[in-house]
Amino acid sequence: MAESTIRRATPLLALRHLALVVVSFVMLVPFYWVLKTAITNENIYAYPPGILPREPHLYNFVDVWYLIPFPRYLANSIIVSTIAVIGNVVFNALAGYALTRDFPGRRAVLALFLSCMLIPFQAAIIPAYLVTAKMGLLNTYFGLAFPLLSTIVCIFVFKAAFEAVPRSLIDAARIDGLSEWRIIVRVLLPLSKPAIATNVILSFIWSWNNFLWPLLITRDPLMQTLPLGLARFLSYMEDTTGALYAFAVMVLLPSILVFLMAQKEFIRGLTSGATKG
């Protein structure tokens, strides 16, 4: 039995690696192109396109640091994203749990949440601005984070994760007299680490990359977030040269860092020998 599995495993393993390598290639080629352009200044419309970077330099990245108040914008982004991530993890977990319980009007609330997802921000710009102005939150960190304090996709991620916890565990806890809050914190959340990780990753990305909202509600140049600040720094013409790509890379890096830190939670299923094929 053991031998046959090993013999069958090797070609299958090689095949899996091959598939993943092909996928990785497709995913990475655009990145290579971005990086290559970020470190050169060549005309990107020349034919034939150069595969290797000519005269690479790092000036594009250095320029950015000096031409805009980079540390300030970075700090702004970090603050806003931190507020958003904390808000998301807390609010979404609570809402996700509530949706697993049976209560009158549950289907209506579910329908409400699902339909809220379907409202594009572009259609909400003016009312969102007016509401935020009414609350006196224009040009503030909280105002920047408010629309992103909770997201429906992440609520459903928690809901699905909580529903996957065996009911016996929850019932046992309830019989032991734990309050609802304790059940969430002590029983459900520890078993839903991947869901927490997903919440952290997604809410960080969405708040970090948010461009349109900060554009509309920040007046004070020093309140700008990093993507906004970097975009303003770019050459005054619509620009596809190295500076733009340096910008894209710099905005991208923190999200990747967060992903790398949080994704170890996805490894949980490894030791239990997950799906084969």
Binding site: V29, A95, L112, C116, I119, Q122, R174, F259
Partner: protein, 317 residues
């Protein structure tokens, strides 16, 4: 789903804890309401109210600084009878949405491949996810350049390998433009589907697979009888995200093609945006928003039904 033992037990009148708060059930309901409240506040302020604003506005003639006039269904009539762009945008949006199952299937395949003790799974996972945190504006610009006829890598590769003689104007050709845009969008969103599905895969109890293997079920049976049904909530989520990508990928489409050439890549969301902020037809844009919203709600309800209701929740234990 879960009911509580002794929920209905009432406390005798006169007792200090009598009244509505007396029953455990009511206290539970109050708690559930509290749990839902923070998220509801955010959504009511930033989604529901704006939707209401759009609905009201769609029946009016208005632009900033002018008083609003009630014009009934005029905006909708305009949309139905006179606006060719609306119909093109509608068609393109539906095509866009129809492409998402392909992306989800691909993401599922990748998720399965990396959700294992494969060496370097972390690396593969990171590589696939790398594109998602890129700002949509950057993705649009990158791909617009990659598709370029002269300096673009794709045409260069095609011609260097001899597959084509003349460069293909991916974003200039009326037939190639939409698929090209969709491909770029899938490239970006693949990582997102992947982590949703990974999260779902993590929650499938392993003993189910063990039991199936002992029973002699082959791999494909294990996949279709265990994995897919248990992934229902995650798949449902991915489908809904696929539906709403038809507007959340606005920046990408707007930067890549601005709806062009002609209106070959015009989506409902680009039409809405242009009507509002380029043509200053906020009232018409509101009507378009209402129509798009209604369409997406119908699709989501259908998806929910197909997933078995309750956002695809699976009966456990």
């Amino acid at each position: 789903m879960t009911t509580v033992a002794g929920a209905g037990a009432a406390i005798p009148a006169g007792h200090p804890r009598a009244g509505w708060w007396g029953t455990q059930r009511n206290r539970q309901l109050a708690l559930i309401a509290c749990f839902l409240l923070p998220s509801l506040v955010v959504f009511v302020l930033y989604r529901v109210l704006p939707l209401g604003w759009n609905v009201v506005l769609s029946f009016q003639a208005w632009s900033p600084l002018k008083p609003a006039q009630w014009i009934g269904l005029e905006n909708y009539v305009e949309m139905w009878s006179y606006d060719d762009v609306f119909w093109v945008a509608l068609r393109n949006t539906l095509i866009f949405i129809a492409a998402s199952p392909l992306a989800i299937a691909a993401a599922l395949g990748i998720a399965l491949l990396v959700n294992s003790d494969l060496k370097g799974a972390t690396v593969y996972r990171t590589i696939v996810f790398l594109s998602y945190p890129l700002m949509a504006v950057a993705v649009g610009i990158i791909w617009r350049w990659m598709y370029d006829e002269r300096g673009g890598i794709i045409n260069y590769a095609l011609r260097a390998s001899g597959l084509v003689d003349r460069p293909i104007g991916f974003l200039q050709d009326f037939d190639w433009a939409l698929p090209s845009v969709i491909f770029a969008e899938i490239w970006q969103v693949l990582g997102f589907y992947m982590i949703i599905l990974l999260t779902g895969l993590q929650s499938i109890p392993q003993n189910l697979y063990e039991a199936a293997r002992i029973d002699g079920a082959p791999a494909w049976a294990r996949f279709f009888r265990i994995t897919v049904p248990m992934l229902r909530p995650s798949l449902f989520l991915c489908i809904v995200v696929g539906i709403l990508n038809s507007f959340s990928s606005f920046d990408l489409v707007y930067i890549m093609t601005n709806g062009g050439p002609g209106h070959a890549t015009e989506l409902l969301i680009t039409h809405i945006y242009k009507s509002a902020f380029v043509e200053t037809k906020f009232d018409y844009a509101a009507a378009l928003t209402v129509v798009q919203f209604s369409l997406l709600v119908v699709l989501t309800i259908a998806a929910n039904r197909a997933a078995g209701g309750n956002a695809g929740a699976v009966e456990r234990d």
